[in-house]
Amino acid sequence: MAEFIKPVRVGIEGVFYSLAHVPDLVRYGSKPLREIRANSALGDELHQKLRGFNAAVAYAPHQAYIGNIAPERLSDWPKPWYDKLIEGATFQGRFGDLVEQNRFYVLLAAADQFDLVSLENDWFHDQDAQPNVVGKKLHSTTEIHALCDKGALPLYSGKRLIGAFEAAHPEDASLAAEVLLENLAAKVTAAHSLRALCKQLDLDPGEIDFVISCSEEAVGDRYNRGGGNLAKAIAEQVGCIKASGCDVKAFCAGPMYAVVQAASLVQSGVAKRVAVVAGGSLAKLGMKFESHVKKNMPVLEDVLGSFAVILSAAKPGEPCVRLDSAAFHPVGAGASPQAMAENLAEKPLAKLGMKLTDVDRYGVELHNPEITVPSGSGDVPRTNYLTLAALAVMRGQIAKAEMEDFVHTRGMLGYAPTQGHIPSAIVYLGHAVERLRAKQIRHALLIAKGSLFLGRMTQLSDGCSFLVDRNDA
């Protein structure tokens, strides 16, 4: 251990992950929306390949996502995972859950403060849970049809029209129905995860001092596109009445930056308890649906991912974020995978007196390969693990023949839906916390990347990493 390093730890009170299964919103994902407009026959093909809630619950990667299966065990699971469903699987996980579409619609209406959502009256009263949806949002089927005829987005449950989503302004593209549906879906899913985490921890949301949202949506009107502060809207929705909040944006690396900033707020004493939340990305639903349909697979990108993490002062024996390990990808580093691995793994570890082989588990870009491989996008986690293994070979920490062993023992198969910010390392935090509590691992290094070039403001990539360990000091 380097003598100048004094560990700086901030406690992880809990983590919760959720998947809202919304097959009938896949048509509003960016890719399906564009392709179906160009070729309406694709809409029917897509509809035939949507899966039901039970199939989504029994899907092994989803069970790993909500904590019921260790992702390290997925390599032993028979494939294709979408065909080898888990008998007796439940929608509630050890640190997560799946939300059924009808419940999601009701939550959407309940979180809507601007009468954007209308639900069909008879359908609504058939639902089990009916939280605070005011009567003026409930309409007859004829009224719902009339709203859709005037340009509102139809909301379906299977073939049944059950609601409509209206624009907030006829001429502002930032307040169009498609955009506001994305934004409200992010708010609702993030709020669900934070509410569920508070319940799991038996924590009054009023005890949270600050909320940071790292959702990806550009919330704002045409003069403030991306202006944001979805965080405060989420805090309000959950009942964090003493909290304020703000958003942290860094493409897919946003959640990792958000955790570092949340931990910094706690460490500095600015806030005692900080929640980091992210809602689902509706735009990414069905991103690769054409490949899935062509290969006669279910459309697997049918879920909105969300998560919540709560940080506070470190407690003895409990899992922590090592703030002194936090690393960012510098401008001058270059964007090659090797440069990423050097700056986000090798250098921060060296600062702590550790080698690449000292890390028990790496959480990287954990996209589910069953989603990405059929479309030609490759096995993203494996590529990332091989880069780390190759660097370990270059530094003489392992032999070249040991690369596969490095990948197998320190990595895992991807299990997260392609929701951008969700798979980007943060998805492993829940499992890492469990492993640390059970003393199965000593530490895990989480490494996320962000594709800044997508915004056409720079050619750069980005990344952020930090170590999590147990506070045994």
Partner: protein
């Protein structure tokens, strides 16, 4: 084989980025007329 050809280089975030491909090919004397990095997840 590619000598004198114009190159379009499409890189990938988790693989080889576009600017890296472009730099290698330019160094070898090829003309890179367009390069970009994309993210497919």
């Amino acid at each position: 084989m590619l000598k004198g050809k114009k190159i379009i280089a499409i890189g990938e975030r988790d693989g080889v980025p576009g600017p890296v491909i472009a730099e290698c090919l330019q160094g070898a004397g090829y003309e890179v007329v367009f390069q970009a990095t994309e993210c497919f997840v």
